[in-house]
Symmetry: C2
Subunit: 127 residues, 2 copies
DNA sequence: GGTATCAATTGCGCTTCCGAAACAATTGTC
DNA sequence: GACAATTGTTTCGGAAGCGCAATTGATACC
């Protein structure tokens, strides 16, 4: 049962991330987010948000659904939720008015940046 | 808006995790989990599970609620859900029968270990 | 022994998410 | 211009989570 728990500890440098440290990092970040009530987003929503802010634009509902392998309503609803939070915004494509272009916002960038800092901070603790 | 996106790139070794790589890692792990439909767990539930498997036992409902700063019903219901998935099990404390001891399971250990491998694998991709 | 305290659970109303299908708006095709 | 195809949204029924308050069972106190 505790097979993974007794796996070897890797040195601090040169061997990437050991399983134990990976789990500790995940735990610490989740703890910070849950304690701060920042965990409003589903894992899917978080994935959508990160995709929007990491991958090169433009982003459409259909494109995101295909890339993430989820249905389109999932994207639409996630955009509703995150849009009301100010994390993303939508805009009709002028060239093809069927498309909706998903745009980044200042608040969304700040949110993503805060997540990054949380991760980096805990990664430093673990190093 | 893109302040964080233009922040400096850190070298591959010696400077820990850059914000960009942290976000990329989070994104990649989330993508793997969402695509594989492994994301049945809330961020809170994941935190509870990781705490059970990372911190030293014994774990009680009250102890977890205090440590994670959530209410007790949150713990109870998360244990219901994860218990039905076979990820954890409960047992009355013989010494004080008010307490419930949360125990690890083989399936839970495998689940956590799989998460760890997912993280480690993507960390290697990014290194 | 009777009462207060404590641990965990459950009930209630509310909100949110999900999947599948139906829908409205726009574009391509002949 | 009529019709098919595409994009995004909405609707519907069902499931799950949340906070808060009440409840059950067990222990401590005097």
């Amino acid at each position: 049962m505790s097979g993974f728990a007794s796996a070897g500890f890797s040195p601090s440098r040169g061997a990437g991330l050991s399983p134990q440290k990976a789990l500790r990092l995940w735990h610490d970040v989740a703890l910070t987010r849950v304690r701060g009530n920042i965990g409003d987003l589903t894992e899917r929503q978080m994935l959508i948000l990160l995709t929007i802010y990491l991958e090169t634009p433009p982003h459409t509902v259909r494109g995101l659904a295909a890339k993430l392998e989820v249905t389109k309503p999932v994207i639409t609803r996630a955009l509703d939720t995150m849009g009301s939070m100010g994390l993303v915004s939508r805009k009709r494509d002028d060239a093809d008015k069927r498309n909706v272009i998903i745009q980044r916002t200042v608040d969304g960038a700040l949110y993503v940046e805060a997540l990054a800092e949380t991760i980096v901070g805990h990664a430093e603790d673990i190093r």
